[in-house]
Symmetry: D2
């Protein structure tokens, strides 16, 4: 099994590096790298960066580039880390532009840099699903794996279900 991990940005990758004249949240190396180094996986993988953006800033052009990347690269599954605010929009977009591929979007409610982050668990859920899924576009958040057309989100507390 080969998984292609694709970074687009979002909470999961928010870091707090030093910047001259202030300290702010910025996007750094894919959190996926740090998580996979702890897992020491038995599957093959590559990590690509498509964008490094808050998901509210992801454009249709970004989504098309992401679809093109997935359509072009050969892998058994594609795990896309993405901000939660527009994760369902990107999943819907990919549903109409990607064909016959296993694509799972995931992310985090708290940055992977946080000691109480959900990122490693969420990425695990996506990896577990990548072992088993038929082609389609899916979301893995809060321990739930559902297709892009079935997943829903509670607007009050942000939980996917």
């Amino acid at each position: 099994m080969k998984i292609l991990f694709i970074q687009t940005g979002g909470t999961i990758d928010k870091d707090y590096p030093k910047t001259k004249g202030g300290w702010a949240f910025e996007f750094g190396e894919p959190a996926t790298e740090r998580i996979l180094s702890k897992l020491d996986p038995s599957f093959e993988y590559e990590i690509h960066t498509a964008s490094q953006k808050d998901s509210l800033e992801i454009t249709e052009a970004d989504r098309q580039s992401l679809a093109d990347l997935i359509n072009k690269e050969v892998a058994d599954a594609y795990v896309v880390t993405h901000g939660t605010d527009t994760m369902m929009d990107t999943a819907a977009f990919l549903s109409s532009r990607v064909d016959r591929k296993v694509v799972i979007l995931t992310g985090a409610m708290r940055p992977e840099r946080f000691s109480n982050s959900d990122a490693p668990i969420n990425l695990g859920v996506a990896i577990g699903a990548a072992n088993l899924l038929d082609p389609g576009i899916y979301i893995a958040m809060h321990g739930i794996l559902k297709s892009a057309s079935e997943i829903q989100r509670n607007a009050d507390n942000g939980k996917f279900y």
Copy 2:
């Protein structure tokens, strides 16, 4: 979806609490509790403790108790945290004693208490698989999900594949 998590012991749950006259590794609260509090899951769950042992000390009686617990309790999936040394033995045992249930064994190469532990990712893989699997006995380790009859382990580096 309701998942029943069952603690049996193993590296994942090893802690370093204070003990009079020395400080040693001991088994504490299920690591699953701490991991799920970070995930804030959208599925229902319960956590049971079947045993708190190094997996080299798991007996046939322990395995029968575990099978009885799984057969008795009602859930959509059963995630068993277990030491890695005899995880495959327990999986084989359950294969002949548990019928028509989704059972996934997982664990960790480094205790969940370690900041570089693989425990949250492994539990995530098991949870992801719990969303999708047909009845059977499975192992989730090193990012791989395979049935009890298919999983193998590299004796040199301890990796499941």
Copy 3:
């Protein structure tokens, strides 16, 4: 020995809680509580909250309230957690308003919630100094303990020295 810890805000206490309509950095419980629960200290202590602000938003009124709090409360040492941008300004202010008290300002370059935070070490430096110092206003950052009048900061990389 009794230490009074005082939260004013700053990077050390930045958290990433859920907020309706977006996820942003906010100030939460004092990081000092989490750090001291790991230390299990042999000294007496209390934790007070004076403010929960980015240090660029700390006003002269906030500083006067902080000075009043220190002058009023009885303790052997006062450890003030503070944002780094104006930590030296607050230290200078306290130097003229607090008399015959051991006051140590500290903070962090990365929030305590981050797994690679410097917060626990910095708080440790302040605590170590609290065991030993004569009255005065001090800053503890980057492993250095100096009086308010001696400490300097590198404008390029943000390091105190």
Copy 4:
């Protein structure tokens, strides 16, 4: 200021690396390295390894080697990481063999690899004290800094005071 950090072993450095035929606690790289990389200190430092032992296995010969190392190397302060069981014995030994040097022994109740470790705070206390102390042999544990002749330990709960 230049600090020489010296690893002798003890809980602070216990790791859980893979070993063929079992997984056990072993001593790895000095935890001090990982802690200082988070601190990014403004002081100069070197890290030496004197031994990698549980402190119950530290011999008089080990203690003499440690004293020789401290007497030979030039630094403003020496921070010795050490197991807690015989930390006071080593401190007493050094008191009669090391002259006119600032030596601070510290360690941890839980390995630095643990996410709830006290190691970063304890090392911080030692560093804070290293900024201020006159020559002598000291212990820094549980937030308390005392000379080798004054420190005591509660036999029931293991706390230094």
